[in-house]
């Protein structure tokens, strides 16, 4: 595979990614592409390299080789500060266990990325509250993450991820810690909110019923990715 030019029209693309952690090869020539507003599921068995692919795509981890291009910009050519700024302003993140800051209230958690971008506190919290309304958790604003249920916590995490109106939302097993009913509700709200906000979603999951909320899926196996669209 030598295709390094990103597919035309793609917002985020990766080619020939390789990443080795000590003795384990996490990625071994993986490729990926994402179009604006598209929801793509990254599937595969555990240990296949899904999360590493997501981390590389988001600029959290630098691949050993290969390229990640976002909106015409090569991520590996950017400084760490530049990538951080990109993550602050263009990307949103939802993790498996919410990863909310336990000491901040829920609304402060949602407002946090906005504040990191320099929005004033009052304005950030107002915007945060409106996002929490959309995810049906507005009444939890004054509570701390330890006082809400797992499903509520994930919805707050989704609100936090979308608050900065990112162009790409990265969700790493967003329902992994939830039962199926709560998981589905989170997925419904997540995909609806992302679509209405025009955000593309990279959805890492090993669950088919979660992946069914996507537009298409990419399977990662042994560090290599297969784009199902092209296969069929």
């Amino acid at each position: 595979m030598t295709a390094t030019a990103p597919p035309p029209g793609s917002l985020l693309a990766a080619a020939d990614l390789r990443k080795v952690y000590g003795p384990t090869t996490a990625l071994d020539g993986a490729a990926f592409s994402l179009h604006p507003g598209e929801i793509v599921a990254v599937m595969g068995p555990s240990g296949s390299g899904k999360s590493t692919l997501l981390h590389c795509l988001a600029g959290i981890v630098t691949p050993d080789s290969g390229t990640v291009t976002y909106d015409g910009r090569e991520l590996s050519a950017m400084t760490d500060a530049g990538r951080s700024a990109l993550r602050r302003s263009e990307f949103g993140f939802v993790f498996q266990f919410g990863r909310l800051v336990p000491e901040l209230t829920c609304v402060e958690n949602v407002a946090l990325p906005l504040r990191l971008n320099g929005t004033s506190r009052r304005e950030a919290e107002r915007a945060a509250l409106s996002w929490m309304e959309r995810l049906e958790v507005a009444d939890l604003g004054r509570k701390r993450p330890g006082e809400v249920s797992g499903g509520q916590g994930q919805r707050i995490a989704v609100a936090r991820a979308l608050a900065t109106r990112p162009r790409v939302l990265f969700a790493d097993e967003p329902t992994g810690a939830l039962d199926s009913l709560n998981g589905e509700r989170v997925m419904e709200l997540l995909t609806e909110a992302a679509r209405s906000a025009g955000a593309a979603v990279v959805l890492v999951t090993h669950e088919a019923r979660v992946a069914a909320y996507s537009d298409r899926e990419v399977v990662v196996r042994d560090g290599r990715s297969r784009d199902m669209e092209r296969l069929v």
């Binding site: 981390h55 951080s84 700024a85 990109l86 000491e103 990325p113 990191l116």
Partner: protein, 792 residues
């Protein structure tokens, strides 16, 4: 390991009781926890060890002071007494010729054995011949060094041997016995005497300077308290991890009492290792104590032997305390098989009992205010209790202060908000981390203030007028005053010499009872003008001073022209004869002014020629010297001149600039001690900080993932430490200043805030925080690497 089998009920072999097994298991966990486990055990052990060493040292101090006191009494030469025993085969002539050299006391004795059985003081096997001297090792070293050049001039004797340890009260004592001749005529009932034995004929129980006792007590309380706080914090190191381990043990069937015993066993392991370290520290410290000198007090290592019951008490109490703290920390915690549950929200901190502690401490100290000046005794229990209550008050108030203040902090920037919210959620942890620093700083500020106050009090005489004279030299009758004045005038650095002799005039012969006695002062016109306003003055004039002292009406009644007055012969020694003087017709009235000693004199002033010839040797000669302080060692030169005139000449320094040098070393020592305690606490702060960071590793890396700047996270860590520390230092300063003020009032010294020490101590406290934050930054940055996300 056979202990593995211990889990199974084995009926055949005799088994240790369950609690022994649990404690043992806990101890094994403590040492098998890998590198981190070892660091934790070591820190606990060092903390406990320091505490143990300090406790042992404290326990040894009374016996050390008693040992000094006993030796002091054993070598006492009792020179006071009106009756003089006859010369015999077992008598010794001895003269006290103590001097000072650069602020240190030098004990000096001139000795002249009068027979083969003359008594020997402890530490001396044979007396030196005239012109030779026995010296203490410290004096020997001083004389041999460049430091001792001026002292060599003052002690013109050959060193012929050293004084044994039994004749000295401290390793640093400067002392000598010099052989002399013809001391008998100098017997005066105070400094020169004939004795037939050494040792105080009326042994007293120990009486130490109460201020010294106070200082010792406070120093130890102040140093021990942070160590206690540190131990309390140290046994909590790794608490979270331990709780998880205990939960795992519950899962496999340990009951809650077993888990508590296992936790106690872990703490016990550190404490026992601490005992061993503490014994080592103490032995090392004991040796070091032999080479140290505090307030002019040095001891021999052998003195520092704590009483065995006290040692036993320390050996039992410290590990017991460590275990109790552990159990206390676990009291609100229920360890369930599936994890640790903290029983609900801890009740809101109540204020009233916390506020009660400092006033209670002050109340305990209050009755002793002013006792330092009256030579009164400080009640040791009240002092210790009061100081401890004040310092414990800091540890009790601080969590409340931190909680209250933090709850009211408005969120500002992101870093600030993260820190404030974190503190609001767990202010107790933060306060506990800072407690040690706060107590150490409060104690150190109080002590520094006490030293500074006592020091300035010691170096500022209350009535001497230092602008007119800074030294006074009392001359023995063998030295003619004009000669002495001339010698001093030639001494480099002496600006002006005021020579005044003084004696007493009585209306009856001094052989019998006296009726009216008035002062007699003899001096040149210039010298006399130092103490009286004289209209005119020529040699041969006589003046009557009246109205100086309100209670003095003797001058008006006794100094009447034509009246015969008797000159007190006692200043001239035992064999001096009484001179008689008739008040001349030309006696002039004069008004007194304050003399260089700050007193208003009364009685008769005579110019030298007016003094009857027989009275020349029956007045105390004294010169008052105005010195040029810029001449180096001017006081030592004056002392040398005095010693050259007579070993009996007694120079006294009024401007005690050298006292401050004595205190400087103590303050430096205290400073170093406080810095060490703070460094130790800083180490524990760092450990718990790192532990906390590790627990939040995933959260931190996810914050980095969403694009948080590292600077923001670093700042939030800094704020998180800085806010409680700032509050702690503030509280510590307030309590420290209050304690310092009370202690100064107790010693009777003037209360003055020593801002320099406040700033230094809070500065060190702040520096510790900064260093801890700086040291925790690299691990923080490492933890923030996105690898932290890679754990699921």
């Amino acid at each position: 390991m056979s202990a593995r089998r211990g889990h199974l009920p084995a009926r055949a072999e005799p088994r240790a009781p369950g609690w022994v097994r649990d404690l043992g298991m806990g101890a094994r966990f403590a040492v098998t926890g890998g590198r981190e486990g070892w660091i934790r055990v070591l820190l606990t052990a060092v903390g406990v060890g320091l505490g143990v060493a300090l406790l042992l040292l404290t326990a040894a101090i009374p016996s050390a002071l008693a040992a000094r006191h006993d030796r002091e009494q054993a070598r006492q030469d009792y020179t006071y007494g009106r009756t003089v025993p006859p010369k015999a085969a077992n008598t010794l002539m001895i003269a006290d010729v103590d001097t000072q050299y650069r602020g240190k006391d030098v004990r000096g004795r001139l000795v002249e054995p009068e027979g083969p059985r003359a008594p020997l003081p402890p530490g001396v096997r044979a007396y030196p011949a005239a012109g030779g001297m026995l010296v203490s090792p410290a004096l020997k070293a001083l004389l041999a060094s460049d430091e001792g050049t001026l002292l060599r001039e003052r002690l013109p004797y050959r060193v012929v041997g050293t004084i044994g340890e039994s004749g000295l009260i401290g390793s640093h004592e400067l002392s000598y016995y010099a052989g002399a001749r013809h001391l008998e005529p100098l017997i005066d009932g105070s400094t020169v005497a004939r004795i037939s034995s050494f040792g105080d004929p009326h042994p007293t129980s120990e009486h130490t300077d109460p201020v010294l006792v106070l200082l010792v007590l406070v120093v130890f309380v102040v140093l021990l308290m942070p160590v206690a706080v540190f131990i309390a914090a140290a046994v909590r190191f790794g608490g979270e991890r331990r709780d998880r381990r205990l939960a795992a043990l519950r899962l496999v069937g340990a009951d809650s009492r077993m888990t508590r015993r296992i936790a106690a066993g872990e703490a016990l392991a550190g404490a026992v290792l601490g005992l061993v370290l503490g014994a080592g520290f103490f032995l090392a410290g004991r040796q070091a104590a032999g080479s140290a000198e505090v307030l002019g007090v040095s001891v021999f290592p052998g003195y520092l032997t704590p009483a065995p019951p006290l040692v036993l008490l320390v050996a039992v109490a410290v590990p017991a305390a460590a275990v109790l703290v552990t159990l206390f920390a676990l009291r609100g915690v229920v360890i369930e098989p599936l994890g640790v549950v903290r029983t609900g929200r801890p009740a809101r901190r109540r204020l009233w009992w916390r506020l009660l502690l400092p006033p209670a401490g002050l109340a305990m100290l209050y009755p002793m205010i002013g006792q330092g000046h009256d030579e009164g005794n400080f009640n040791q229990y009240l002092v210790t209790g009061g100081v401890m209550l004040l310092l414990v008050g800091v540890t009790a108030l601080l969590p409340w202060v931190v909680e209250t203040v933090v709850a009211r902090l408005a969120p500002g920037g992101v870093a600030w908000q993260l820190a404030v919210r974190r503190l609001q959620l767990s202010s107790g942890t933060a306060a506990r981390m800072v407690n040690g620093i706060a107590v150490a700083v409060a104690g150190a500020i109080a002590l520094q203030m006490l030293f500074a106050g006592v020091e300035s009090d010691y170096s500022r005489p209350t009535h001497h007028d230092l602008t007119r004279a800074q030294m006074q030299v009392n001359l023995p009758p063998t030295v003619p005053v004009p000669d002495a004045a001339a010698h001093f005038a030639r001494t480099p650095g002496v600006r002006r010499v005021t020579a005044l002799s003084s004696g007493s005039l009585g209306t009856r012969s001094w052989r019998g009872d006296q009726d009216i006695a008035v002062e007699l002062t003899v001096g040149g016109c210039a010298s006399l003008r130092e103490l009286a306003a004289l209209p005119s003055c020529r040699d041969g004039d006589v003046f009557a001073l009246a109205g100086g002292d309100a209670s003095d009406d003797g001058t008006a009644r006794a100094v009447l022209p034509g009246r015969t007055l008797y000159v007190d012969p006692s200043p001239g020694g035992r064999h001096a004869r009484e001179a008689v003087w008739t008040v001349p017709r030309g006696v002039q009235p004069a008004r007194p002014v304050k003399d260089p000693t700050g007193m208003l004199r009364s009685g008769v002033l005579m110019t030298p020629r007016a003094l009857p010839a027989g009275a020349r040797t029956t007045v105390h000669g004294a010169v008052y010297l105005s010195l040029d302080p810029s001449v180096p060692d001017v006081t030592e030169r004056v002392r040398n001149t005095a010693a050259g005139l007579s070993p009996m000449a007694n120079p006294m320094q009024w401007a005690a600039t050298e006292h401050s040098r004595k205190f400087t070393s103590i303050r430096t020592g205290l400073f170093v001690g406080a810095a060490c305690v703070l460094a130790l606490i800083g180490a524990s702060l760092l450990v718990s900080q790192l532990e906390q960071l590790r627990e939040r590793r995933k959260l931190l890396s996810s914050l980095v993932a969403v694009g948080t700047r590292r600077r923001t996270l670093g700042l939030s860590v800094l704020w998180q430490t800085a806010v409680p520390v700032a509050l702690g230092l503030l509280l510590a300063s307030v309590v420290g200043l209050a304690l310092g003020a009370v202690l100064l009032r107790m010693t009777g010294a003037t209360v003055r805030v020593d801002w320099a020490s406040v700033l230094t101590m809070t500065g060190i406290g702040g520096a510790v925080v900064l260093v801890v934050t700086l040291l925790s930054l690299p691990p923080l940055l490492r933890l923030m690497r996105p690898d932290g996300l890679r754990t699921e």
